[in-house]
Amino acid sequence: MAETTITRDEVAHVAGLAKLAFNDAELDQFTTQLSDILNIFDTLSEVGTDNVDPTYSVTETVNHLRDDVADNWGQKQELLDNAPLAAAGLIKVPAILDGEGE
C-alpha cells in the first residue's frame, strides 16, 4: 500500500467534522504531525488480514439488557443548574441556523 499522506485541506475538512478550528500555523503543524502518525499507521498494511474478523470489543457479556420499566431519577433541576444557560426548563443555545445539523 502506498504511503498515506494527508493534505492541509484534508486536515481542515477533518477539523470541520470534529468542530475544531485551527489557525494557519496550527494547521501546518497538525498536517505534519498527523502525517508522521499516519506513517506509523501504514505499517499495518504489512499484515495480511483478508480472513481475519475484526474485534470491536472484548467484553464477554452478551444480552445485558434492561427490562422496560420507567424510572425517573428526578435530576431535571440539577441538570439544568449545570447548563451554561437555561430558561423555563429548557437549555438555551445560540440560534441554530437553517440547514445546520443532520
Binding site: V14, K19, L20, L34, T61, E100
Partner: protein, 488 residues
C-alpha cells in the same frame, strides 16, 4: 500533623482504626496535612475536598463500625472519576468547575466500604498522554525525582501514593495509564481484565479499552482494593457478571511450578538496555523461586501501537463530542451562532494532545479511511489476541518490562507525539486484548524505578497477584523510599 504511610500497609491502618489507636478523623486530617506538606513538590492533586472528607470521617467515627478493611482509610481519585457535587475535570479546561450530579460506581463502592476520598488527582487531559503533562491545570512530578515526569496518564494518583500522601488511589488505564506511572514511581498498579470493574462514571477515553484500577504500595493492598471496586454493575453492560473472587487467595509467596512466558518482542528495539537488564534480573529471581521461565513470541506486538492509536483515537473522537458547550462545562463567550459555539468552545476548551487525537480518530473513521484504518486496526486487534491466546495455552503469566525506559525529564517528550506514542508499546497490547496487567517495582536504574509487568489470562488476576507478591516479598523493594518520605 502528618502521617507516614510508608510504614503502614492497609491491614496495619485497619488494625489501628479497629483498636482505636487512631480515628478516621485523625487519619483524614493527617492525610490533608500530608498533601499540604508535599503537594508543592508533587503537584499530584487538582483539587482536594477536606470539608466533605472530614464530614465523612466524623460520621465513620460516630458509627464506630470498622468491619470493612477500608473503612476510615483515605483515598485519592483520578480526576476522571465522577464524584457527586465535587469538581471533576478530566484535567481539561472544558470541564473546569464542572460538578457531576452522580457518583461513579467505583466511588460509590469505595464510599460504601467507608474509604474517605480526600481529593482528585492530576492526569493527562482526558487521560491522553503518558506523562501527565497534558493536564490543563498543573504538572505533576515524579515522587523519586521532581525533575522527572510521573508517567501518565494517571500520574497524579501514582505520585500521590509513591510520595506518601495517601495510602492508595484509583486510576484508569486505556493503554498503560496505570501500569506505566506505577512503574515510573516504583509502586504497584493494576489494570484489571476488561469488564472486571464497572466503567460507570469513568469519563470515557476509549470505551473498549478503558479500565479502572488501584495504585498501592504493596501487592496485597492492591488485591484488597480491587476486591472492593470489582464486580457486576447493572449500569455497565460491558461489565462482567462473574463473581468476584478473593484476589488475595494466592498471596503465599510460592510460585513453584508457575509457568512464566517472556516474549522476546518485549526486549526488542527501543527498550533501554539498563531497564531490560533490571527486568531480566527480576525474572531470574522468579525462576529462583521455582517458576519455570521460557522465551515466547508475540509476533504482532510491533503492530500494537498503530492498531491501538487508531482504535483509541477513533473511540475517543466520538466519546469527546459531547463536550460541546451546550449542557455543562465550559462554553465559549462571544459566539454568534450554534456552529460558532461548538467550534469556539471545543477549540478553546481542549488542549493540543486532545485535539490531535480527536483529529486522528475523526480521520480514521471518516468515509475514505474507515476500512484502511479503523477496520484494519480492529483486525490486527484480533491477531494480537490470538498471539496471547496461543501463549496462554501453555503458560500461566507473561512477564516483561512495563515501560521501555525509566521516567524521563519534564518537557522532554511532550512535543514529540510519535516518540510519546511508541513509549506505550509494552502496555498497549494488554488493553487491546482486555487482559489483566500488573506493574510492580523491579528495582532502580540511575535512581529511578523500573517496572516489572505481569500479564495474566482474562479474569485471572489472582495468578497475576500471586506472581507479583512472590517477587515483591523476595525482593523487598518496598523498603526503599523516595526522599520525600522524610517529610512525614
Amino acid at each position: 500533623m502528618t502521617f507516614n504511610y510508608f510504614e503502614h500497609d492497609l491491614a496495619s491502618l485497619h488494625n489501628q482504626l479497629v483498636n482505636r489507636e487512631i480515628t478516621a478523623t485523625e487519619l483524614t486530617e493527617a492525610t490533608i496535612d500530608n498533601i499540604a506538606n508535599t503537594d508543592e513538590q508533587l503537584q499530584a492533586f487538582i483539587s482536594t475536598n477536606p470539608d466533605e472528607a472530614l464530614a465523612q470521617a466524623k460520621l465513620i467515627d460516630e458509627k464506630g463500625n470498622f468491619d470493612n478493611v477500608l473503612t476510615g482509610i483515605p483515598v485519592g481519585l483520578k480526576d476522571n472519576l465522577a464524584t457527586k457535587g465535587i469538581q471533576t475535570t478530566g484535567a481539561s479546561h472544558i470541564l473546569e468547575g464542572f460538578k457531576p450530579i452522580y457518583n461513579a460506581t467505583v466511588v460509590e463502592k469505595l464510599s460504601n466500604s467507608g474509604a474517605v476520598s480526600v481529593g482528585k488527582t492530576n492526569m493527562d487531559e482526558f487521560a491522553m498522554g503518558g506523562s501527565t503533562e497534558t493536564s490543563y491545570y498543573k504538572k505533576t512530578t515524579n515522587a523519586w525525582d521532581h525533575s522527572k515526569v510521573p508517567g501518565g496518564s494517571s500520574g497524579g494518583s501514582a505520585s500521590a501514593v509513591a510520595g506518601g500522601q495517601v495510602p492508595f488511589a484509583l486510576g484508569s488505564d486505556t493503554g498503560g495509564s496505570i501500569r506505566q506511572p506505577a512503574a515510573f514511581n516504583g509502586i504497584v498498579g493494576m489494570k484489571p481484565t476488561y469488564g472486571r470493574v464497572s466503567r460507570w462514571g469513568l469519563f470515557a477515553m476509549a470505551s473498549s479499552l478503558d479500565q479502572i484500577g488501584p495504585f498501592t504500595r504493596t501487592v496485597k493492598d492492591n488485591a484488597t482494593v480491587l476486591s472492593a471496586i470489582a464486580g457486576f454493575d447493572a449500569h455497565d453492560s460491558t461489565a462482567s457478571q462473574r463473581e468476584v473472587p478473593d484476589f488475595s487467595a494466592k498471596l503465599t509467596g510460592d510460585v513453584k511450578g508457575l509457568k512464566i512466558a517472556v516474549p522476546k518482542e518485549y526486549f526488542g528495539e527501543g527498550i533501554d538496555p539498563k531497564v531490560a537488564k533490571q527486568v531480566k534480573a527480576a525474572i531470574a529471581q522468579l525462576e529462583a523461586l521455582g517458576a519455570t521461565v521460557d522465551e515466547v513470541s508475540l509476533p504482532h506486538t510491533k503492530y500494537g501501537v498503530a492498531a491501538y492509536y487508531i482504535i483509541m483515537s477513533s473511540e475517543a473522537s466520538s466519546n469527546l463530542q459531547r463536550y460541546d458547550g451546550v449542557r455543562y462545562g465550559f462554553r465559549a463567550d462571544d459566539v454568534k451562532n450554534l456552529e460558532d459555539l461548538y467550534v469556539k468552545t471545543r477549540s478553546e476548551g481542549f488542549g493540543d494532545e486532545v485535539k490531535r487525537r480527536i483529529m486522528l480518530g475523526t480521520f480514521s473513521l471518516s468515509a475514505g479511511a474507515y476500512d484502511a484504518f479503523f477496520k484494519k486496526a480492529a483486525k490486527i486487534r484480533t491477531l494480537l489476541i490470538e498471539d496471547f491466546n496461543k501463549v496462554f495455552e501453555k503458560y500461566d503469566v507473561i512477564v516483561g518490562p512495563t515501560a521501555p525506559t525509566v521516567a524521563y525529564g519534564l518537557g522532554e517528550e511532550v512535543d514529540d507525539p510519535t516518540a510519546m506514542y511508541l513509549a506505550d508499546v509494552l502496555t498497549i497490547p494488554v488493553n487491546l486484548a482486555g487482559l489483566p496487567g500488573l506493574s510492580v517495582n523491579a528495582g532502580f536504574v540511575d535512581g529511578l524505578p523500573v517496572g516489572l509487568q505481569i500479564i495474566g489470562k482474562p479474569f485471572d488476576e489472582e495468578t497475576v497477584y500471586q506472581t507479583g507478591y512472590a517477587y515483591e516479598q523476595a525482593s523487598h523493594l518496598f523498603d526503599q523510599h523516595p526522599d520525600i518520605a522524610k517529610k512525614y
